[in-house]
């Protein structure tokens, strides 16, 4: 019972881990390249949560110094994740661009069919 309560209190990590596993599963299990990229994005998003959640301090406000407040949230994770989001967007855009080119070259975005077509050549 104590473990259950412990788990419930850390529900944010459960959400993070669920997203992580779901994203990774899609990447591994799907042969469609667009779906793979979606899975990859979900996987990366879970990491954003991993960083952002501990940065929030309950009762804390935005970290701009003001005599009325004494507790502030940690701004560093937000800055880090802003960078990570940009990296994620760049990866997704590049991945999709590659998929478009692959589609033009092969006429399909299914990995199995692409392997099949290369074998014929």
């Amino acid at each position: 019972m104590a473990t259950l309560i412990d788990l419930a209190q850390h529900y944010n990590y459960i959400v993070t881990i669920f997203l992580m596993m779901a994203g990774l599963y899609i990447v591994i299990a799907r042969g469609n390249m667009v779906k793979k990229l979606i899975g990859l994005s979900i996987f990366q998003t879970s990491v954003y949560l991993l960083y952002i959640e501990p940065g929030k301090i309950i009762g804390g406000t935005a970290p701009i110094i003001d005599p009325a407040f004494s507790v502030y949230s940690n701004p560093l994770p937000h800055v880090l994740i802003l960078t990570a989001i940009v990296v994620g967007v760049a990866t997704l855009a590049l991945g999709l661009a590659l998929v478009v080119r692959i589609n033009e070259a092969y006429g399909t975005v299914e990995e199995e069919e692409i392997v099949e077509k290369d074998r014929d050549v």
Binding site: M20, L24, V27, M33, K36, L37, L40, F43, Q44, V47, L50, Y51, P54, P77, L80, T83, A84, V87, A90, T91, L94, G95, L98, V99, R101, I102, A105, Y106, I114, D118
Partner: protein
Amino acid sequence: MKAVWPHLPALQVVIPLIGALLAGFMRRGTTAFALALVVSWLMPVIAVCMLWQVLSSGTISYHLGGWEPPWGIEYRVDALNGFVLVLVSVVGAVIMPFARRSVAFEIAAPQRAWFYCMYLLCLTGLLGIAITGDAFNAFVFLEISSLSTYVLIALGPDRRALVAAFQYLIMGTIGATFYVIGVGLLYLLTGTLNMADMAVRLAEAWPGQSPAVIAALTFVTVGVSLKLALFPLHAWLPNAYAYAPSWATAFLAATATKVAIYLLIRFLFSVFGASIDVRALPLSDILMALSVAAMFIASTVAVFERNVKRMLAYSSVAQIGYITLGIALANQAGLTGGLVHIVNHALMKAALFLAVGAVFYRACPMNLTDLAGIGRRMPLTMTAFTIAGFGLVGTPGTSGFISKWYLAIGAIERGWWPLVIAIMASSLLALLYVGRVLEVAWLRKPSPAIADASDPPLSMLLPLLVLALATIYFGIDTEWTAGMASTVAKALLGGVR
């Protein structure tokens, strides 16, 4: 000169970055090439100056934006990454002249300027990973180098290059994300991102084998291992190297995986080493087993591979096995062997891939059977290939022998005799796959497909011969390579618990 001196760490990264941006404005391949050449030749000057400074007066610490570490980003150069910076920049500088004709031959005119732009960006990323002392900053540089690498690979002449780049993008992103999860856990544990500070705080607050620290270690190790193509995680590498433009393959094979190995060493020895005994973890045994598996399985695949470029790519996986074996041994001789093999393998593989690129430039076909008698048509190119190939085997007198010698001593010191036999047996496999090419190239009658092939122009031949001669030189005079590696290994092991 005096004014520039303290800013060398920043310039090491900023100059290629600005070079990449300027190349982004250019439309002509030749101007972009000239820019890339200037930048590439400037980099080793900076790197050597910094290494000299480190060796004479200790670690360099550069505070970006004037913010004190651990709050700000710190560029920290010690013997280990000074060594890696010199390697990456020297390889880039030596092989750069080869690029002009090779790139002009393989890549369509509108994309040539972009190619050099991406190369400079990749160089920025690789040098950045090596120089930064901040774990998250290393992730950003890792992604800068990776994203530009995907583009470099996708520019390859074959449509399979696109698929190879896509597969690498998926695997590489998973690797980088695993790394960033590990760094996130470390940040939660210690509240810092500065690697040196992290090591201190881990030792203070989390001594012994805390499960959280082990989890962070696992994530970082798996993530970086994906990037460095440790054996079962190497699936992206053969296709990526086989279908990328020849010059890009030579550059990436010599530098990208090596920088990832540096990151692994940095985390295992400098960050975690101070708080947990990495050698006592199962990690060490797993790394050992995977290294030996890489040495045998990848070499065996290489023996049966018909495309020469793919064969060399599989050989890369096997050779990376030797380096990780040195890391797994984690004693003075073993680590020296691993570190010195980073340099030796980089030089040999660059020479081999450049030779293959030169053959592609003159004769096109890349299958082994088409290359019959190529040695008589392109004698200097194939001589360089032969020398570097013998280096790969580890023949005495070449630099490959030095690395294997240290690894064998390291194995004996740790009492693992069978490893010595494994190193020798896998060298025989290397002899088989290198020998196959040499037999076809030198002993067969020239095939009509290569009737009008001849040695490439000097700008391509010179880098090739320099690298081949380096393979011999560093097999005889080991003061710069093995001597330096041994200093680094001593420093790394001195900081370990």
